[in-house]
């Protein structure tokens, strides 16, 4: 009897270990949900259903929230998802959500319009992809909406939208003799954030590393989330 009990106990423990080591796959999708490739291939205006992880949100407003989403295969920009104010607080970094909406393109930015969402089990946070070498190439757009980084960029100009701190900051950065437009988006990283404040101490000629989301407006126009000066 004791032996049988011991064997059962060992079996039970073994099963527990197997269960515990069942690896979480952040790329896994529920039934009926598109993979990133399927989303990417979907026609404009088609209904899309995706699952991805919140990387950041813009400020909630008027029962809507704009969300930067990513999974291990690609990134999504969900523009003005229907969202009650109490639900906005649940959209923390890494939270997995399922979004149903329509694929659209606004000024070159591929986005999910008129979307609704539900929160799912699981968390995952993206690490920035270095796309510095892709600047000015046709391959850059393949990383649209992803969390990306750019190394060794030189500041050409810093302009506040209303000529003074408070609203968006337009930042022109150069690399290899070409100039690229970046933006500190007020509704993503407002005047109270570190990245917004950091630009007060930066000036044309400074060399910086940039991190942000690869937003598109008539061409690449990354939304900067972090900046550090290169010595």
């Amino acid at each position: 009897m004791k032996r049988i009990f011991a064997v059962l106990l060992v079996l039970c423990m073994a099963l527990c270990i197997v269960a515990c080591t069942d690896k979480f796959d952040p790329a896994a999708k529920s039934e009926g949900v598109m993979t990133y490739a399927e989303y990417n291939a979907a026609e404009m205006d088609a209904e899309v259903v995706i699952e991805a992880y919140v990387q950041a949100t813009q400020s909630w407003w008027d029962n809507k929230i704009t969300v930067y989403l990513q999974d291990p295969d690609g990134a999504y920009f969900a523009y003005e998802l229907a969202c009650a104010e109490e639900d906005a607080a649940k959209l923390t970094k890494g939270t997995k959500i399922k979004v149903t909406g329509h694929k659209g393109q606004w000024e070159g930015e591929i986005e999910i319009m008129d979307g609704t969402f539900e929160i799912m089990e699981g968390t995952w946070v993206a690490t920035p992809t270095d796309v510095t070498s892709l600047l000015g190439t046709d391959d850059l757009i393949k990383h649209q909406n992803k969390l990306v980084c750019f190394k060794g960029m030189t500041i050409a100009s810093i302009t506040y939208k209303n000529d003074e701190p408070g609203d968006d900051i337009y930042v022109n950065l150069t690399k290899g003799g070409n100039t690229y437009s970046f933006c500190v988006e007020r509704y993503l990283t407002g005047p109270d954030t570190d990245v917004y404040k950091a630009f007060a101490d930066l000036k044309a000629g400074d060399v910086v590393d940039i991190e942000g989301f690869l937003y598109w407006y008539q061409g690449a126009n990354p939304h900067i989330t972090a900046v550090s000066k290169v010595n």
Binding site: D45, E107, K161
Partner: protein, 534 residues
């Protein structure tokens, strides 16, 4: 018996206190503004001005200069400028700040929005008495600058700020909608622009422009992107179409007439042309100016206040230089159903003043508001876009007449597209109209535009647009914009704030219990004393 009487008295007193507290809920507010006898210049005032610009740095500079010039005249008034680029954000922030009693002093607003602000008691200051005041009113004897008289305000524009018979807003600038046309492409398609654009003409040309070559590129521009007809503000589109058709939108009293047969027929027409690829909206694809300048749009309808972004030589551009296309820009009035009787909307920023405890602070706000009507501010700001000044004093000034005469001298201050847009409004001021303003008119306006947006999106998403679709659409619009609840909040001064929040109930209950305990203790002490006396 005496003991009983005391207890009843205590309870009654408690009840009275409670009633007093409860009565306060929902009616707390400021006293109506009363004009002080004179402006007290011995005191310092700090007022806030929430202003809107069109993402235009020159406008920002003009606001700043206006503030500096005003402060130089009135060193005891400091004006804190807060800038916005979106009316909707101003509206939302004001609503939030009404709740906390921290509204700005002076604010750029739409009259529709002001009608909603008026649901609170004495929130917005009526301007009639201020305007007419002999010393501090328009052109008043004690005003330290050359302010326009009431007679020098353009009556039609002034009337737009009247709500429920009172002047609650002053016009600051006026604009209208303009159709910016790629004339080169219209002629390439074999058409000639008429003197006055009609909807039929626009649809005809737009449909013709959708022809493609064997590679899928549009014949007219050789590109794979073309939205022949692109509209910025679809709320204006619906409102103007209904007005031109003589169909209902709303009554002056706030009765909703939007969901009518004519509106539905217009939406069917829009759906048909969307199906052909002839039409889209700003909300769906982007700015009309960007598509126009890239040769990807033929008819771009936007405000005259967006004129500096329109055309091959536009001074403000938002697309890469290599995407700009050379074409001739025709600046035309909005398309009409009856070209002999053109009708177009009058729009543009207005200014309102929020009430404060201190009437002197309100008077300081009024003086600043009036300063915004001086020629210096009016002419400078109107020149930044296709705006027109709201005073005849500015419109008839030598400086302004000279400005208008120099159309096309350069592509900056005298940019021809901007000046043509301005002149179209000046010539058509009598053909402009505004929609009735009432509490909820802002929601109705949103619903009018959203109906076009939803219809356009439905077609693009291959949904069926039929009677069932419109039945659902109307129901959704009524629900989304609470159009069935308009009038529940009136501007009688007392807003229905609903049930007391639980924290307030708890606090009031605690107060009642405290009073009962205090009363009981007093009674007990009194009885005890009486017993000892015996």
């Amino acid at each position: 018996m005496k003991k009983m009487k005391s207890i009843i008295l205590c309870l009654l007193a408690t009840l009275l206190c409670l009633l007093t507290l409860v009565a306060c809920h929902g009616s707390r507010g400021l006293d109506a503004f009363a004009m002080p006898e004179s402006f007290d210049t011995s005191r310092q005032y700090e007022i806030s001005f929430w202003a809107k610009n069109d993402t235009n740095q020159t406008q920002v500079a003009i606001y700043k200069k206006a503030v500096a010039d005003f402060e130089a005249l009135y060193p005891n008034i400091k004006v804190n400028l807060q800038l916005y680029t979106d009316y909707g954000r101003i509206y939302n922030d004001v609503i939030t700040n009404i709740g906390t009693g921290t509204t700005p002093n002076v604010c750029i607003s739409y009259p529709d929005h002001i009608a909603t602000y008026l649901t609170g008691a004495n929130i917005v200051v009526p301007l009639d008495d201020l305007m007419a005041h002999e010393a501090y009113g328009l052109g008043g004897s004690k005003v330290k600058f050359d302010s326009p008289s009431k007679e020098e305000m353009i009556p039609k524009f002034l009337q737009e700020g009247v709500i429920d018979g009172q002047q609650y807003a002053l016009p600051f600038m006026r604009s209208t909608e303009i159709c910016y046309v790629n004339k080169t492409y219209v002629e390439k398609l074999g058409f000639t622009l008429p003197k006055t654009l009609t909807w039929d003409f626009i649809w005809q040309v737009s449909d013709a422009a959708t022809a493609k070559d064997e590679n899928g590129n549009y014949l007219v521009n050789g590109q794979n992107v073309l939205i022949p007809f692109l509209y910025k503000s679809t709320d204006n589109m619906m409102i103007q179409m209904l007005k031109q058709k003589g169909a209902g939108y709303s009554t002056d009293e706030g009765e909703i007439l939007l969901f009518n047969e004519t509106a539905q027929q217009l939406l069917y027409d829009i759906a048909d042309h969307t199906q052909l690829g002839s039409f889209a909206t700003f909300k769906i694809v982007g700015y009309p100016a960007n598509f126009l300048n890239a040769g990807q749009c033929i008819f771009a309808i936007d405000s005259s206040a967006g004129a500096t972004w329109m055309g091959s030589d536009a001074p403000l551009v938002d697309i890469p230089e290599e995407n700009m296309v050379e074409f001739e820009t025709a600046v035309m009035t909005l398309p009409q159903f009856d070209p002999d009787h053109p009708q177009m909307i009058s729009q543009g920023p207005s200014v309102c003043i929020f009430n404060k405890q201190d009437p002197q602070e309100v008077l300081a706000s009024w003086l600043f508001t009036q300063f915004l009507l001086t020629n210096e501010v009016q002419i400078a700001y109107s020149q930044t876009e296709g705006y027109v000044p709201v005073t005849s004093k500015a419109q008839k000034s030598e400086e302004y007449i000279d400005y208008l005469s120099r159309e096309g001298e350069d592509n900056e201050l005298y940019y021809d597209v901007k000046l043509k847009a301005t002149k179209l409004l000046l010539e058509n001021t009598d053909n402009t109209f505004v929609t009735p303003v009432f509490n909820g008119s802002a929601s109705l306006r949103n619903a009018a535009g959203q109906m076009i947006e939803e219809t356009t999106k439905a077609v693009r998403r291959k949904q069926t647009v039929d009677k069932l679709f419109f039945d659902r659409l109307y129901t959704n619009m009524i629900s989304l914009y609470r159009l069935d609840r308009l009038g529940e909040q009136t501007n009688t001064g007392k807003a229905d704030l609903g049930e007391l929040p639980s924290t307030a109930v708890f606090l009031l209950s605690a107060l009642v219990i405290a009073w009962i305990l205090v009363g009981s203790y007093a009674v007990w002490q009194w009885v005890k004393k009486k017993k000892q006396e015996k």
